[in-house]
Amino acid sequence: MALSREQLAQRVAQELQDGYYVNLGIGIPTLVANYVPEGMEVMLQSENGLLGMGQFPTEAEIDADLINAGKQTVTMATGASIFDSAESFAMIRGGHVDLTVLGAFEVDVNGNIASYMIPGKLIKGMGGAMDLVAGADNIIVTMTHASKHGVSKLLSNCTLPLTGKGCIKKVLTDLAFIEIKNGKFHLLERAPGVSVEEIVKLTDGELVIEGAIPEMKF
């Protein structure tokens, strides 16, 4: 069965390491914070200028001067620091963030990602997404494997305008955990109860399958 949003977040959380500085995009990536393994500490970077993002505030704690990159009111974790936007992106673009998790519309076998713009629709902008994908070494893209109509989002070539070129190496979809290397998708894991055949059918770009593909463990 396809992973739920919560399971996607849970699987990403397995990639965390103690002491990681992490930037979580809006949507499913945000949920990852709920699944940090027991005894492990990670620090969340919010690109509007906060390292050490805490949980949402109580009514009493709400502070209009303290928001995250999704413009939600937040709190600061112990040991947090505040900085301006240039410093925040120096941190991101300089490769200092250990793990970046963000969503996408499409990725392709060359590690290209399209995530910010659907021509003809209202264009809201890339925000910090282009900086995040260009600056990080370690990125996990979370997305649905295919549209509701069965159209694959894992392509030979992205069809939408790119957010970044050649920068994605790991994709977690609701069906599979995939690595991108040498111009191909490589199937690493499959969602519990999802067959390799099903994944192959819904993957447009070349997909390499080596040996037995394990099911994800939760």
Binding site: A60, N68, R93, D131, G135
Partner: protein
């Protein structure tokens, strides 16, 4: 005090000299840390044909969004927009020119503008629509594009505290683009919640030195919250 006293007593004085067709760089992220009263003064003045440089463009009735109904903005350079209906209408109809710029590139462009750096290379935007018409170049086997600096005729900034000399301190994530905008305006105007005497701010903890600030005004702020998200007290 004399020459270094940057305090002005009215918003009219604060924005004096702003003319049609000028470029204005604004601090703020979403509705957080925006110079809300300076924006209102621009609306009151009715200045037109402005190029705005700001991460976002406010909402329909707050922030930079209030400059839309009277078509005061000709062009906006921003990373994320369209949180308001009038913005969408003007963009779709072509009345409003929008230059989408990655958030980090936008911040760095402001900093570069203030720091005498005319252009810098960045990996951000390589191979994307942002790279169109820009020089591409390899350094150590990685691809980069050349991004020019941004300077403004005016910069409008919101800080938390200032001394009369214009030394600024920001509060929490209301800092965001404000210190960068402050460096990049020919005339930098700052509104603050509190003005203290020189010497009252710790020199080690001043975020923006007064050299960047031309005019300073004490304001009162609504500080509207865009996404009021809370957890239960449990």
């Amino acid at each position: 005090m004399a020459g270094f006293d940057k305090v002005v007593s009215s918003y009219e004085e604060a924005m004096a000299g702003l003319e049609d067709g000028m470029t204005v760089i604004a601090g703020g992220f979403g509705l957080c840390g925006i110079p809300e009263n300076l924006i209102s003064e621009i609306k009151r003045k009715g200045t037109k044909g402005l190029t705005l440089v700001s991460n976002n463009c406010g909402v329909d009735d707050f922030g930079l969004g209030i400059l839309l109904p009277d078509r005061q903005i000709k062009k906006i350079i921003a990373s994320y927009v369209g949180e308001n209906a009038e913005f969408e209408r003007q963009m779709m109809s072509g009345e409003l020119e929008v230059e989408l710029t990655p958030q980090g590139t936008l911040a760095e462009k402001m900093r570069a503008g203030g720091a005498g750096i005319p252009a810098f290379y960045t990996a951000t935007g390589y191979g994307t629509p942002v790279a169109e018409g820009k020089e591409e170049r390899e350094f150590d086997g990685r691809h980069y594009i050349l991004e020019p600096a941004i300077k403004g005729d005016f910069a409008i900034v919101k800080a938390w505290k200032a001394d009369r000399y214009g030394n600024l301190v920001f509060r929490k994530t209301a800092r965001n683009f404000n210190p960068l905008a402050a460096t990049a305006g020919k005339i930098t105007v700052v509104e603050v919640e509190e003005i203290v005497e020189p010497g009252e701010l710790d020199p080690d903890h001043i975020h923006t030195p007064g050299i960047y600030v031309n005019r300073l005004i004490l304001g009162t702020f609504e500080k509207r919250i865009e996404q009021r998200t809370v957890r239960s007290d449990a």
